[in-house]
Subunit: 315 residues, 2 copies
């Protein structure tokens, strides 16, 4: 896949692993930094998202990366590029969306720029403060830990399916896609209870992606039980209505921005079970990265399954 | 002008002055942050710049902003968006340019992302450490200070003129445009000698722009002597060859990335005069923001002159 090819070239050229690995960079000043971009007609379509939602979501995506490092988001800068035809009203609504989410999470907009361009391009840098003495990274999973996740998986993909079909029947699914909630509070809760490093990722690229990447980076097998992964009732309805395999949305839908990770049993017991669900356990790595019990169409995820699914996701 | 209109809308929406004022934001962790973007066919044309030069220049522009805050650049993150037709060789050359300038100045690439898009879009965030107990900002000019600048002005604009005319006769001018030098070392020298806050800007939008903005933000008049502003011999030759007014390149050419500022006489005396040139002095503000002695075609810069020139520059 082109993106991975480019990443290899970049990493070979820069001669360090800056672009691979975790979602944020940690600097010695005690801060986590992440930069992510959204490009018109690649990441979003102005026919299906309002400028205000776009502003909100652009920030949400970056704050989710900060949350997945257990950091507390503090600042953002925003580069915004738009064609000459862009109106003042669009700009106002876009920055209202940004202002709204920043106020919700106590984040300050400290800079950025605005430039011309044929398509809308948004690049946001988010900066967060270290909030735990322990590390949260995809290579920290250890045998014997609990595999957990927050929220429902697949809602955003189902929401997008409804939107593209002009179906406004389920606002919850649509909002999951247009106005995702970064797990800032959930990250705070995790930071309070952990007593050692944990594996953690957000589900920006799907639950299956997060599970596979944690397994691969940590050299462990994650065994999860499909029956323990919460499937929302409206997701099940939508999958029937549109004849889409439910497990595809749940594992590969992406853009949900839930947290997935591994944590000691002792720390997990201190978490609110209405928010954090145990979905499996960490085993020694054998043949398969991820084993999915009680799921006959997707009984496991190995490199081959992962690549075929992720390719589909990028297409 | 559209950009200023947008900036007003943004500032009204965000309800603080995040987007106005200085080139970098200062955060309580002791760091300066800046984010700037370069858009294909707006800021650069792939017919006239190589991928390697583009990588180099994209970073240079951001490091120059860090230098203009007297900070020491430490980290960058890079968002890069390119069409599917982009080759691995392009990516490699682009990141080689980035790697080169980062090595030159001890800067570490700590993250970023790569995405698809119709045009090339580059957005870089640079992070620098505070290197002086004193502040360098455009509103710090005080009556009685010396007005100084580094380097030659107008070389980049002249270089672009040569490039667009297919004239490769003067490599110095062409390199001034394609491979500008951020004044990191000059900022270090300033940090060493100052004993109070100074006004400082880079000349990314031209000497005239920097002088006017310092005057306006500081409520002082900057009186400069045209005879003291170093005009490079090859710049004079090029202005004759292409029949371009020399003072237009010098004051409004932009993209030179020199430093312009105001500083106490005592501190100025400690600076290397091969690098820093006194070009004038700070007077109380009367009718005009900037007075230019010995320059009959541009005897002063007030709001009206500034806006007419800056408009031209954006067109």
């Amino acid at each position: 896949v082109k993106e991975n090819e480019f990443l290899s070239v970049i990493n070979n050229t820069l001669k360090d692993n800056s672009f691979l690995g975790d979602d944020c960079a940690f600097i010695e000043e005690g801060l986590y930094i992440t930069q992510d971009s959204l490009v018109e007609d690649v990441h979003f379509d102005l026919k299906t998202i309002t400028p205000r939602q776009l502003g909100y979501k652009s920030v949400a995506v970056n704050l989710s990366d900060i949350a997945s490092c257990l950091a507390k988001p503090k600042y953002i800068t925003i580069s915004f590029s738009a064609p000459n035809s862009c109106t003042n009203a669009f700009i106002e609504e876009f920055y209202k969306g940004i202002s709204e989410i920043c106020q919700n999470y106590g984040v300050k907009v400290i800079g950025g720029d605005i430039t011309g361009g044929e398509k809308i391009f948004i690049s946001i840098t988010a900066i967060g403060a270290k909030a735990s003495p322990y590390k949260a990274a995809r290579n920290c999973a250890k045998e014997g830990q609990v595999v957990f996740s927050t929220g429902f998986h697949g809602l955003s993909a189902a929401g997008l399916c409804l939107i593209t079909n002009g179906d406004s029947s389920d606002k919850t699914l649509i909002n999951a896609h247009l106005k995702p909630i970064p797990n800032i509070k959930e990250a705070e809760m995790l930071a309070k209870v952990i007593d050692s490093d944990i594996a953690l990722m957000d589900t920006s690229d799907g639950l299956g992606d997060a599970l596979y990447k944690i397994s691969e980076a940590s050299n462990v097998c994650l065994s999860v039980d499909y029956n323990k992964i919460k499937a929302a009732e409206n997701l099940i309805q939508a999958s029937k209505k549109y004849n889409k395999p439910l497990q595809d949305w749940i594992f590969w839908g992406g853009e949900d921005y839930n947290l997935v990770g591994t944590i000691s049993k002792k720390a997990f017991d201190k978490l609110d079970k209405n928010i954090f669900t145990q979905i499996g356990e960490v085993l020694p790595l054998k043949d398969r990265n991820v084993i999915i019990k009680n799921q006959k169409d997707l009984p496991f995820i190995d490199k081959k399954v992962f690549e075929s699914k992720v390719y589909n996701h990028f297409e």
